[in-house]
Amino acid sequence: MLRASAAAEEAGVPSVSLTCEGFIGQAATTATGLGLPNLPVAVVPGHVDVQTVEELRANVLGFTVDAVIQGLTVAQEQASESVEPEPGAVVFEGSVDEINRFFYENGWSDGLPIVPPTAARVDEFLKFTDRAPDEELGVLLPDKRSATVRNVAINGVMAGCRPEYMPILVALIEAMADPAYGVEHSGNTPGAETLIILNGPLIRQLGFNYQQGALRDGFMANTSIGRFWRLYLRNVAGFLPHKTDKGTFGNTWRVVLAENEDALAKMSWTTIAADQGIAAGESAVTISRFTGGTVLASVFGSKPEQMIPYLADGIARLVAWEVIFTLGMADGAQKPLLVLSPILAQTLARAGLTKQDVQRQLFEHARIPAWKFERYLGEWTNLSPGHPRLVDFVKSKRAPAVFAESDDPNRLVPVVCKPDDIMVAVSGDPLRTNAYVFAHNGILGFPTTKPVRLPGAWRRLLAEAAGR
């Protein structure tokens, strides 16, 4: 919300941001991250969503307007930078218990014990990259802190990663820092959580689980890297619950999802990484932020026509208010993910379907009534202003014709704009006929893929690590 204000101020145009009462702290912190710590904010008491027009009018006239005038007319005082320890500085010495208490009490931990990021442990991680410790991978909002190779290593140590995961951690933070992903939205109120999808030879080399229990904790590589992601959001980007992270509920971090590439290869299906443009044989991470997921249990049938309707129903059922990212808040940005167990994928492949065929069929079947789509946009939520109608999206060429084949409110329309917006992965128990579907958070965590760059001495380093 303050980013528009910051852009205006930087262009020399005075601004003031309207902020609901519950967001004052986030506004101030975000403003600092934007380098304009004194961006004027005018508070609207309570939350506008639950106020009648009369209440809102009274609140705005009685309270907000004065601050708007003040914000637009009074010059803001300058603020100074906050002071942080130098990179590599020793911030604490003590026993493991004391270190854990110290990190936790200072908000540097997620509540579980951390591995103390000693200089020696951090150095071990740094050996697994050819990049300089102080190389900047990007600058992360809201704290506007530099993501460096060193602070990647530090958080990797803390999360319980092994040093050889370091190339993956660096790739992940490159993805986090990619503007296409939109890390700055990570504190929004729906509180969606990122899923990391891993492809390539590193799955086997580093022992990721991609079979039964693929999304369950219990496997060091999958689990510790998932934890690293959220520690990094906390410690470097600066997303803290009760401050900059306003997730109404939130949820814990997700473990890394590794695809079953043996199964994919046998079916000649593409991997997620390949779909995202990564060359075969290369390892890559794909991050995408999902609002939630659910299991589709006991998919019954031996033919696609028996299976697709149920799988597609799962997608149509889960992508609800999230259609604002299909059309409305963003167009064509809804990228739900369907994870098929290998046996389901193989059954579809046996009928001659490629992954792209499956995506096309899912697109045909994952439909909801047009009236419902429109209500998600502008009646049940207020996330797309002005009660937009799908026929108007088509008229203005913002949406494909499929959204306006008639003006019957009961006609069925897709929940995404095109077939390959439905991402399909293969993982999980190879012999169980279950699937998992995730609804997507659109531009507030857009699928972003980065190749994993290995150090020159990777083989030797890996062999040494295996001996420890």
């Binding site: 702290g25 912190t29 600092t32």
Partner: protein, 390 residues
């Protein structure tokens, strides 16, 4: 000589962080440097920028005090180290979350989270069960009508006056009797001091650097008492519409406490002669403390509280010709017409601007008090005190 054991204290850093993340100490250090006051706080701004600091020393209690004083985090007296355990014990007495924000403390706008207030309350010597009173008092002080910015930065010597009403006063042992404005009662001393430490450490009201009060006053250490529960009149909180079983804290901007020996006549005389031009110009709200002996006698003679207020309003008068000589006459932007059309005017704009409290010892040589007010807008702010959670 045996090796001395080093001990550690885990302390919650009590100083203010703004919503934008900056620490107010950086501003304070610059102000102190400019004002040539760094000798008092040589370590101002030199502390780890985090929630918790571990202080290790053979005598960590003394070490905390040394460091805090050098960083400018005390009122000059020793403090109780705000350890995690002590701070958590205070936070446990309220249903609010430690991270809940009551507001920003002017002028440097440190965020008054429940935990930061608790750290300062621990330092002031508060027992855990005092904490709901401190929270309610801080809430009252953050009401815009209190004008915290003005109170903290003015060259006048104003201090918050805190009066506690209701059953919590007796439960916590907040003194309303003998020596209620003096030393000897931990609750009075610590609650008032907690508020001052909040103003210093979250608001940045460092004397000479930010606070330009020419002399200050002893009430800036602590100015907190309860009203007696045996008053012949309805107690303040009931007068304000609260139930007798509710507890409240009420705050004023008090210029000072003036002792008055005698009865209403003496009180009115002092109110007239100690008239604050600020009070007169800006309709200040003043408080008087009537001794129980005087109150009983008045009540027996049929005086209500309102009668007392009207009487004081009528009798506390200032000569208009004398006022013409005042410094304020030459500097005030506005000079009310009523000051020109009469020989004498009341020192207080309206009887309703006078609060009558009953406190002090039950003596036949009664001691009363008058608290003139400073500044604007009119201020007498009351907040209910939640019962401390067990």
């Amino acid at each position: 000589m045996g090796r001395q054991e080093v001990d550690a204290l885990w302390i919650v850093i009590p100083t203010g962080q703004r919503a934008s993340g900056e620490w107010i100490d950086d501003t304070l250090r610059r102000r102190a440097e400019e004002a040539g006051l760094l000798a008092r706080t040589p370590e101002a701004g030199r502390f780890p920028r985090q929630r918790v600091e571990v202080i290790r020393a053979v005598d960590p209690f003394a070490e905390v005090n040394e460091r805090f004083e050098a960083r400018g985090w005390t009122d000059g007296l020793p403090v109780v180290p705000p350890t995690l355990a002590r701070v958590q014990a205070l936070c446990a007495t309220t249903a609010r979350m430690p991270s809940d924000e009551l507001g920003e403390v002017d002028p440097l706008r440190g965020v008054a989270t429940v935990e930061k207030i608790a750290a300062n309350a621990v330092m002031a010597g508060c027992r855990p069960e005092y904490f709901p009173v401190v929270l309610a008092a801080v809430e009252a002080l953050l009401d815009p009508a209190f004008n915290m910015r003005g109170v903290q930065t003015t060259d006048e010597n104003v201090a918050p006056l805190l009066v506690v009403n209701g059953p919590i006063a007796a439960r916590l042992g907040i003194n309303a009797g003998f020596g209620a404005l003096g030393p000897g009662w931990r609750a009075n001393a610590a609650i008032g001091r907690a508020v001052r430490l909040v103003m210093l450490n979250l608001g940045g009201g460092w004397p000479g650097a930010v606070s330009l009060a020419g002399l200050g006053q002893p009430g800036r250490y602590s100015l907190c008492l309860a009203e007696r529960d045996d008053s012949p009149w309805p107690p303040l909180h009931v007068e304000l519409g609260y139930r007798p079983d509710q507890s409240t804290v009420t705050v004023w901007r008090a210029e000072t406490a003036i002792n008055v020996t005698g009865g209403l006549a003496e009180l009115a005389s002092v109110m007239g002669s100690a008239a604050s031009a600020f009070t007169m110009l800006y309709t200040g709200r003043v408080a008087v403390i009537v001794a129980p002996f005087v109150a009983r006698k008045l009540a027996k003679d049929g005086w209500s509280k309102d009668d007392v207020k009207r009487h004081l309003h009528a009798q506390a008068r200032v000569s208009v010709s004398a006022m013409r000589e005042w410094w304020l006459r030459a500097t005030a932007r506005e000079w009310p017409a009523r000051f020109e059309t009469q020989d004498h005017v009341s020192a207080i704009a309206s009887p309703d601007d006078i609060t009558v409290l009953v406190a002090g010892a039950d003596l036949a040589i009664p001691q009363l008090a008058y608290f003139p007010s400073w500044g604007f807008p009119p201020c007498r702010i009351t907040r209910e005190i939640a019962a401390p959670l067990d």
